[in-house]
Symmetry: C2
Subunit: 324 residues, 2 copies
């Protein structure tokens, strides 16, 4: 049994708690929280423990899964806890990964621990598919499309506008752009051509819908470069039709092996729940982290460094006879 | 530079010769043949060498890529040459892989060489995607669809029928079955529901078309379990419209993380040339074999055992900053 701990009990933490139930070689030993443990109601019989006591669990847990946010939590937590545990995180601030990698690597090596960072689907499975496809088709073009799915960051940006009570934003890949990417003609596609943004907004009483719409569609970085549609709906409708957190997307590489010979490699995900799926990826890599650690492979790793077989509970013989 | 050799100069051998040109960290040092070397015309300046002299190249080649067939050539060649070289093959007789693995492993270990077997797209990239998807979604169903593409084995089977001058068979996934597999309802699909077979046949003069058609559609294993259409065409039309060797397919896993939460992972390939693409996969794994060998990892490996980063000519830092 792989003994797991969770630090942070939001959507992702609940997802990991849930994923343990469908992975019979894993057990969840503790959920660590910065809150008062008695205030945290969990969906299993798992012990809730104050993070102040985490060091006492040093030898009781094989892998600690860090379920905090990339902005503030993980840059501190992953290097810190890699000195005590094998750790997995889903750090997704792409530009800061090299720095994060270095910090985690130093910590993990100092304690002979194994850390795998930026695990999930993007970064994570999408990264893997970009990498495999580039290694196989060196002469080609990459395309990544996200959606249809809820973007938490864009939903939050709308919620910060005056007069907005609640909001949900969907990132939607443009079908025509997908068709072009699959055509083998290797087109250059602009931001606007690739994705559109759909917003569902609940207004506060008396708020000016015209002004709110204008502030959304003109918001720099978030919406100004996209075709954005804004739908005003009631709070009831938002709860009823927009409470799920679906996501997904497409990674394509289109490349030539000779002048008139093109190939398309496409990977896609259609996820009913972004956090539940991400959690399942985290569990698979937790399995890998423990195995690597047992083999004496210490320090910080990414999905690129982990041989696929390490993710599976099956033996080498089973994998060869059933999956190869 | 990675020094490569090829044994066998058919479609696959020519594909590897071609792929070396778009992989600047590789060079092709020799093409080994069982034929008289002066009878083999190649598409590069590569030296053609009789296989009888292959042992002299023991220290001049980093990886030997075996481009023979799975039925007769590879079961003998891969174990034999793994005693002299690091080797890659595309052995694809699924049922016999465990036995082949064992033979190659013994040979390679005895000589401190590294062998990677069953490399290509199925087995190969499709296997990887089945494995990753199963590790992430343990509770689900797998679907593999092949095509639209030319099946060499089925084309050969038609050619063996009396009265047939030439033939080309396409394996075609049934669109409705793909839609069902993607629905999240995890349907059971029969052989007939998943694929249909399209045959283009050139008859010898005076041959009985009715009899030939009947022999094709009723042929056990190859056609009897499928909806098969037979089109009789002229030799000119076959040459003009059916001389390419496209292929591809789809690997799907549909799985749940909780009772009402389903996810679809889909991987697909659309290949203008099956042998050119397969060759590109072989080159990437040749790069990996050499690296593993330099690290002292000996014996027989499959795609499951190879960390993705080993396939890429990029450094770890480049991979993290550009692909993660």
């Amino acid at each position: 049994m792989i003994k797991l701990g969770i630090l942070g009990y939001g959507n992702l933490g609940r997802g990991v708690e849930n994923a343990v139930k469908i992975n019979p070689d894993t057990e969840l030993c503790a959920i660590f929280t910065r809150r008062n443990p008695s205030d945290v109601k969990v969906n299993s019989n798992t012990k809730v423990v104050s993070v102040d006591e985490i060091e006492e669990w040093k030898n009781k847990i094989d892998v600690l899964i860090l379920c905090g946010g990339s902005a503030v939590d993980l840059p501190v937590q992953t290097p810190k806890y890699a000195k005590l545990f094998n750790v997995i995180d889903s750090f997704d601030t792409h530009a800061k990964i090299p720095e994060h990698y270095k910090n985690v690597d130093t910590s993990a090596k100092s304690a002979s621990k194994t850390a795998i960072i930026s695990v999930g689907w993007d970064p994570g499975l999408f990264s893997l598919n970009r990498m495999y496809a580039n290694a196989i088709l060196p002469d080609g073009c990459d395309y990544t499309f996200w959606g249809r799915g809820v973007s938490q960051g864009h939903s939050d940006a709308i919620r910060r506008i005056e007069g907005v009570k609640d909001a949900r934003q969907y990132t939607v890949p443009v079908e025509e752009a997908l068709i072009q990417a699959r055509s083998g003609k290797n087109p250059q596609l602009t931001t606007r051509q690739k994705h559109k943004r759909e917003c569902y907004v609940v207004l506060k009483e008396g708020a000016d819908a015209k002004r709110v719409e204008s502030e959304i569609v003109n918001m720099p970085n978030y919406f100004a470069d996209y075709d954005t549609t804004v739908n005003f709906i009631s709070e009831e409708e938002l709860k009823k039709n927009h409470s799920a957190i679906p996501h997904g997307g497409f990674v394509l590489r289109s490349g030539k092996t000779s002048p008139n010979t093109n190939h398309i490699i496409e990977y896609s995900l259609k996820l009913d729940s972004n956090p539940e799926f991400t959690s399942s990826v985290l569990i698979a890599y937790a399995r890998a982290a423990l195995r690597l650690n047992k083999e004496g492979v210490y320090g910080c790793k990414t999905v690129f460094d982990v041989a696929p077989a390490y993710l599976s509970p099956k033996t080498n013989e089973e994998l060869i006879s059933t999956m190869l």
